[in-house]
Amino acid sequence: MEKLVVIGNGMVGHRLLQALNEGDHTHRWHITVVGEEPRTAYDRVALSSYLEGTSAQDLSLGQVSGPHVHVHTNERVTTIDRTHRTITTHTGRTLPYDRLVLATGSTPFVPPVPGHDLPGCHVYRTIEDLDALAIDARTARTGVVIGGGLLGLEAANALRQLGVKTHVVELAPHLMPTQIDQGAGALLQRLVTDLGVTVHTGSATTTIEPGPDGRAHRILLGDGTHLDTDLVVFSVGIRPRDELARAAHLRLGPRGGVDIDHTCTTSDPTIHAIGEVAHHNGTIYGLIAPGNAMAEVLADRLLGGEATFTGADTSTKLKLLGVDVAGFGDAHANTPGALDVVVNDAAGGRYAKLVLSDDATTLLGGILVGDASAYATLRPLVGHPLPGDPLALISPTGPTTLGTHALPDSAQVCSCNAVTKAHLTCAIDEGAREVAALKSRTRAGTSCGSCVPMLEQILAESGITPSSALCEHFTHSRTELWEIVRSTGITTFSELITSHGTGHGCHVCKPAIASILASQGNGHILTGEQATLQDTNDRYLANLQRNGSYSVVPRIPGGEITPDKLIVIGEVARDFDLYTKITGGQRIDMFGARLEQLPAIWTRLVEAGFESGHAYGKSLRTVKSCVGTTWCRFGVQDSVGLAIRLEERYRGLRSPHKLKAAVSGCARECAEARSKDFGIIATDTGWNLYVGGNGGFTPRHARLLARDLDEDTLIRYIDRFLMFYIRTADRLQRTAPWIESLNEGLDHLRAVIIDDRLGIADDLEAAMAEHVASYTDEWAAVLSDPDKLARFVSFTNAPHTPDPTITFTTTRDQPVPAPTPLGIPTTRPTMETTR
C-alpha cells in the first residue's frame, strides 16, 4: 500500500476522504489525516446555525473510518520535508508519505490596523471562534462587523441574534461587492437596515482604540467619525493557509495560494492541494463547491482516473439576515457585449438582473435580491438558451412556471456537487424514487440545499409523485384531512370515509383521524364511534403491557407533588398489588393493572385529586422542570411555576405524535429542556424558547426560536407553535422532523409564529384557547358514565373473572409478568408498534 497523508480535516479534506473511501476498492492507499482543530470535519457553511442552537455534534460531517484510514485531531503540521518525503507535527510526530495533500483551507484576514489584536476583537471561522464570540456577546450591547461581504453579513446576523446592536462597516460603496452590483447592493442595504443593522458603506477602518478596561472600545473611521463598541468582528476576506507550502518552496499564486494544475497537483508532482488553500488558473475559490470539485478530481486521479479540474461555478445563494441574495454565472456582465435585463422593484423589496449574451439568447448569469426563488431554475440554465422572455422569467410569477423540463441534460442542477440533470435522471431510472434516495445516490442537495426544489421537480416530471396518502383508505395526507374536517365540519370517521375515502378504515387511518377529531374538539375520545378508532391505549386510557395488563400514570405537573398525594399513590399501588417505578418523565408509573381493575384504581386516584397523565395518548406528556428559584441558589426564574402552568394549559391536547416539554431555571439546564419538543430556559430577563428537540430513535437538540420573552408572549408563541404543528404535521411525525420538512425550516417557523407572515396567528391562538377552555379530565368523565364504564370488563360472560393468562412472579420485591412460553417478543412488523 502507498501512503497518503492529508493535512487539514476541513470540509474539502473530508470530501476527499469520503471519495477515496468509496472508490478505493483495491486498497491502494493507506490514508493518514492530520487536522489542527479539536474535532473532525464539520459543516462550516452552516456554522452560523451553531449560535442558534445547532450543536457541534449536529454540524459534524461524520467520521470516515476504515482499517486504512487514520484521523488525528488537535495536531498541527509544522514542516514538510520534500527531500525525505515526511511531514512533522507540533507534537514531534513524523510521518512519511508517498503523496501529500494540502487541504489546509484559509484563515480570516485581519487587517493590520492599530488595535486589531485588542481583547474583544474576533474572527468568524471555527466553532471555537463562535464560542469566544458568544461569551463576549453576553455582556456586549454594541458590536461592529468590519466587512460587508457574504461572511460579514452572516456575522452581523449572528450578533443581532445574540441580542447585540450591530453595525457593519464596508470599505466598498455597497454591500457584497464581489457578488452583486450597485443596484442590488442598495436594495440589500435598505432591507438590512430595516432589520436594525446600521450599515456604513465607503468607510475605512483606521484605528481601534481600547477603553479603560483595555478592551476594544472605539473604531475610528476614514472620514474622521467614530463608532463606540463593545466588540469587533473582522470579516474582510480570507487568506489561504499556504505557510507550509511557502516554507517548502512550492510554487504559489501571485496573491498567495498553492498553485495547482488541472489535476490538482502542485509544482511538486507528489504534492497536491485542494480547497481554499489552492490557487488555480488565477483564482482562489472561497466557496465549498469548487473545493468539493477539486476533491473529487484528486480522488479520481489518485485512483488512476483522468478527471480534470477546469474551474468551478461560483454561484451563491444565501439567506442573509432573512434576506435572499443570489448571484450566479457572470453576474457582473464581464463578458464582452453582454446585455442585462433588470427588474428593480424597490417598493416590493425585489431586485433581479439577468445577464445575456450579445444576441440576447443565452443566459450568462444574474443577481437576485429579496426573492431568490428563481435561483434554482435559473442557475442551471447558465450557458444555455433562455426558454422564454427574459423579463417574464424574473417577474414575480415567472420562474415558478418554468419546469425542469426546460433544462438540457448537461445543465448542472446541483452546483455544490456538480450534479447534472442527466446524472439525476439516470439515478431515477436506476430506482431512486424520492429526494432522500437522490441525495444519497448523487450527493445532489447535500450541501447548501438550494437545489432541493429542483430535485423534487425532476422527480415529479419523471412521473414520480411522493405519496402522502395516509393509507389504502385515504389518498389524502394528514394535513389535507385536517383541512377537510375543519372546512366541512365533519365530526365522525364514518362521514369522512364515506365522503373522502374508501373501505372501512384500518389501524393507520382510524387513530390518525381520531386525533384530528379530538384536536378539533369533538368531546370525550370514547364517545360514540370515536371509541372504535382508538388504539388500545387510548381505548382504555392506560398503557398496554407485554402480558395484556395495563400501566397507570397519574399526572404530576412539573414533577411537583405533596407528601399526601405520594402516600395515596403508594396506598393504591399496595392495595392493587401494582409494580411502581419512577419514570423518566418525573412522575410515577404503576404497572400490572388488569383491565377490569382500572375503574376502581382511578376512582381512588380521582378522589385524591389526580387526573389522567395521558401517558397513553399522542398528546402532551409531561412538562419536566428543575427546582429553579423555588430552591436553587442559581435559579433566575420560577421554572416549577411555569412548568405547572404549561402542563395544565396543554394537558389533553391531541397531536400528531406525543409532545414533551421542559423548563429550566437557568442556563445550567437541569431539566434538559433542549431535548424536548418545546423547551424553555430562563434568562435574567425572561425566557428563551427552544423547539424541535427529542430523545428517542433519532435524538435532536431543540433550536432557539425566540429569546428573552416575557411569560405572556412565551405562551402565545407556544400556543401558535403547537397549533401550527397539529394542523400541518404528518401522522406520527414529531416536531423535529416536521420543522425539517418545512420549506426553510426554522426560518419559516419564525415567520409564521413571530412575524405572523401567514396571518393565522390569531386563529391558532383562538384554537388553543378553545382547547384550554374545553379541557376535562378523561378519567373522571369515564367514571361518571355507565356506558363507558361498562367496557372495562374482562369477559362478556364473566365480567369480573381475571384473564387467566395474566400471571405474575416477584422480582426485586415487586410483581412482574410471569415469563410466557413465547418469551419476550423480538419481532415487530414496523417501528410504529408502540403508541
Binding site: 389504502e472 378504515g505 372504535t532 381505548r539 360472560n797 384473564d803 410466557t820 419481532t827 412488523p829
Partner: protein, 120 residues
C-alpha cells in the same frame, strides 16, 4: 373411514346489543379458551382466538377493526400484526393464524360454538 365430528355446543356470549360495531369483546369458554368477538359494519359477526400468537397476550379483542383490500381485518394492539377476520390468517406472515370459531345471533343473544372451525 369415517371422520368423527364432535357435536357443536353453543354457549351464550352476551346479549346481542352489547356487541357494538367495530368494538371487540372477549368471551371465556368453559375450557378457558378465550374468543374475541366482532361485529363489522355490514353487521357480520366474527369470532377468532383472543390470544395473540405473536406475543401470547390475550388482547386481540382490543385491536382495531378495519379492512384490507376488501378483506375484513383485526389488528393486534400488541405489535400491530394484521389478521383476516374471515380466515384468521396473519396477512404478513402466512405461518401464523388465529383459529376461527362458529358464531351466531340466536334469540337476542350472541352465541359461540365451543369447537373451533380450525384453519381453513
Amino acid at each position: 373411514m369415517t371422520t368423527l365430528t364432535p357435536p357443536l355446543t353453543w354457549i351464550d356470549a352476551c346479549p346481542a346489543h352489547h356487541l357494538e360495531t367495530a368494538l371487540g369483546l372477549a368471551t371465556l369458554l368453559p375450557d378457558l379458551h378465550q374468543v374475541a368477538l366482532f361485529r363489522t359494519h355490514d353487521d357480520h359477526l366474527y369470532a377468532v382466538d383472543n390470544l395473540d400468537p405473536h406475543t401470547g397476550a390475550a388482547v386481540i379483542c382490543r385491536g382495531i377493526v378495519g379492512d384490507h383490500a376488501g378483506e375484513p381485518t383485526i389488528t393486534s394492539p400488541m405489535l400491530k400484526h394484521v389478521f383476516s377476520l374471515r380466515s384468521g390468517h396473519d396477512l404478513d406472515d402466512h405461518h401464523t393464524h388465529l383459529s376461527t370459531w362458529p358464531v351466531r345471533h340466536h334469540h337476542g343473544m350472541i352465541q359461540i360454538g365451543t369447537t373451533p372451525q380450525g384453519t381453513p
